[in-house]
Symmetry: C2
Subunit: 386 residues, 2 copies
């Protein structure tokens, strides 16, 4: 089946690019001497996760060691979906919601390992209480903030030491170690800026781990990860594990800040021209906010980035004169910066949009069409919800 | 079952508000002497659509006329979903994609009426061609642009006349009439500005219909609709049908521009505090971009509107000091403009977020929890995809 047979809007994965992205990252982290625990939140898809861990397995096997599919998830729904499909080593990298501890403990019984995340006494109280009543131990990371300012403890705070110490001493908890995400890398504008964040991310989390060790607290794992920092990192001394996710797909945001090139972007949306208006130099696509998401993109780098890059249906030829300037629910508005004839992009023309933020866009779809050499070779289902 | 039993994030509908919104709009359009064909794209939910058409039926029945559930849809998936649940009079209010004509004709055989939308010769060519080959007639509206600049023909253009004339003369087409959507009303900042757009919307589409009639083209229906304009319109002389959709839920955008008040908003997201950071006056919620959508809201009215209004879990008490300033995939970041103690909003606290754009937010959920008097009285499924 060919792309032209698909009903639009629909999500397309370029398999050559996906596999190359998986291979490049696997080789890089292997060279840097750390374990890869890819984040599956970008795609929520078993086949894509298998691709990333297969590539990693191959890279690791060359060194005589085999690791099967450790992954990172952002939701309990992802954890359950991947567990049901044979992934047995899972880190849920969101601070635990006390109301969902019971679900987590039920899942723990079904997998080899489910690591939880905490950054407060309240969360540990709830975990200890449940573990005590259930007579069931648990594994937890301490979430650390290295400057993003979203979740996590300050690595220079007493609270961080107290929480780590509490997990370390608990008879019910296995303290896995410390974990961070330098989300501030997304505010960078160049590869050099990202490199500086990557060094800072590593130094902060490794420094914190060393501080804890100096206090007699064992810290088995030192985990970090964002696609921008992992796409440029050159030295991960002291780190044991990394958790990039977006790198499998990449997107226009990542290429704008220098984490990849446009040729690396493996995820896109196939769309159809449903309106062509030469009098106002505009097109309307059948891909709107629900098909693409309203992520504004890297406007700090390119204020005119619009809602994605528009190309020919095969994804090969970018149309530089076409700007996807506005999205309503099911309409994408394109302005054309050149004389537009009705025959240039007549109603019915298929186009491809490479979105600003593949994670948010991919989550709109229940399935992806996997394409190799212009042929659809798979329709891959995704997990949904929470 | 109570709200506190729900796993978050999840979507909540306040039934009293939903029913009131349905009733108020039904009474208004009935008073204005037009038919209500509500747009279901906002909710994609059979129970919600039934509520809106029931309220309308009741209003119309008082005048001795009964109409059963005419609706407007934005996608073929919605059309199929509602047809399968007994809705038999459907307008697909998006310019037809030629590649999806076959599906439309298949569905036409299963319902009493499926009206399509066109605004180009190319689309009519494709419809005529298919209808000829299938030996099956079709019904179509001509889409008209009254200043939004998205889809539709200029009502003062020769093209508009030509397309209407072509549908009128076709032996295969039933020309239903003209249809518009004054989406520019969303750029308004006050109720008075919206009223001016409503008058313009009516005058433009009615004037175009009169022009066509003067040329001997019958124009049975003159259809317009946007929630802002229909929330304030005072005179719809010449209009036969209206298609508001968002009004059932409303949202923070609509209240910001004056189309409703915050007390009218019937749709919200229940969320849980998963991080509380007094040192940086911040909270993290488990509702991020996938749970709320990244619609920036009515920033032309309120640049600091953030990603929605945060209230107590019962939706009653707004927390004015809490601003939902940033969304990543599964994290919502709240800044607190007052001294924050860990005991104010401890990890595990449930809150409610009334989103900027209920259409885009609602589409994130496979089900809504319908709540009356604090009790969950229904879990309503939704349609998805295209």
């Amino acid at each position: 089946m060919r792309l032209s047979n698909l009903r639009t809007p629909c999500a397309v994965i370029d398999l050559e690019r996906l596999e190359r992205n998986a291979r490049v990252m696997s080789q890089r982290v292997n060279r840097l001497g750390v374990r890869l625990r890819p984040h599956v939140k970008t795609h929520k898809c078993v086949e894509v996760a298998a691709c990333s861990t297969r590539a990693y397995d191959a890279a690791v096997s060359a060194l005589g060691e085999t690791v099967y599919g450790p992954i990172t998830v952002s939701t309990m729904a992802e954890a359950c979906h991947f567990a049901a499909h044979g992934f047995s080593d899972i880190t849920w990298a969101q601070p635990i919601n006390p109301h969902r501890i019971e679900e987590a403990f039920v899942l723990m019984d079904q997998v080899e390992r489910l690591n939880l995340l905490v950054d407060s006494h309240t969360a540990i109280d709830a975990l200890e209480d449940y573990a005590q009543r259930a007579g069931q131990p648990y594994s937890a990371y301490l979430k650390v903030d290295v400057g993003y300012g979203r979740a996590g403890v300050d690595p220079h705070s007493q609270l961080g030491v107290d929480l780590a110490g509490r997990l370390h001493k608990s008879s019910l908890a296995t303290f896995e170690g410390v974990l961070t995400h330098a989300g501030q890398a997304y505010a960078c504008g160049t590869r050099e800026e990202i490199k500086a964040i990557a060094v800072h991310e590593r130094d902060e989390i490794v420094g914190f781990a060393q501080r804890l060790r100096g206090l007699g607290i064992e810290v088995p794992e030192v985990s970090l990860g964002s696609t921008p920092t992992l796409s440029v990192a050159e030295d991960l001394t002291g780190i044991t594990e990394v958790r990039p996710g977006n790198y499998l797909f990449y997107d226009r945001y990542q290429s704008a800040i220098g984490a990849c090139t446009d040729d690396d972007i493996a995820f896109s949306v196939l769309t159809t021209v449903i309106g062509c208006y030469p009098d106002r130099a505009g097109l309307v696509l059948d891909a709107g906010a629900l098909a693409l998401s309203k992520d504004p993109g890297a406007i700090h780098v390119d204020p005119d980035c619009g809602y994605g890059m528009v190309t020919s249906a095969d994804g090969v030829q970018p149309f530089e004169d076409l700007s996807l300037v506005s999205l309503s629910q099911e309409h994408g508005q394109v302005t054309v910066r050149a004389p537009l004839n009705a025959s240039d992009f007549p109603v019915g023309t298929q186009l491809r949009v490479f979105p600003n933020h593949s994670c948010l866009t991919a989550a709109k779809y229940d399935r992806y069409y996997a394409v190799r050499g212009g042929l659809i070779v798979g329709a891959w289902r995704t997990a949904r919800g929470w």
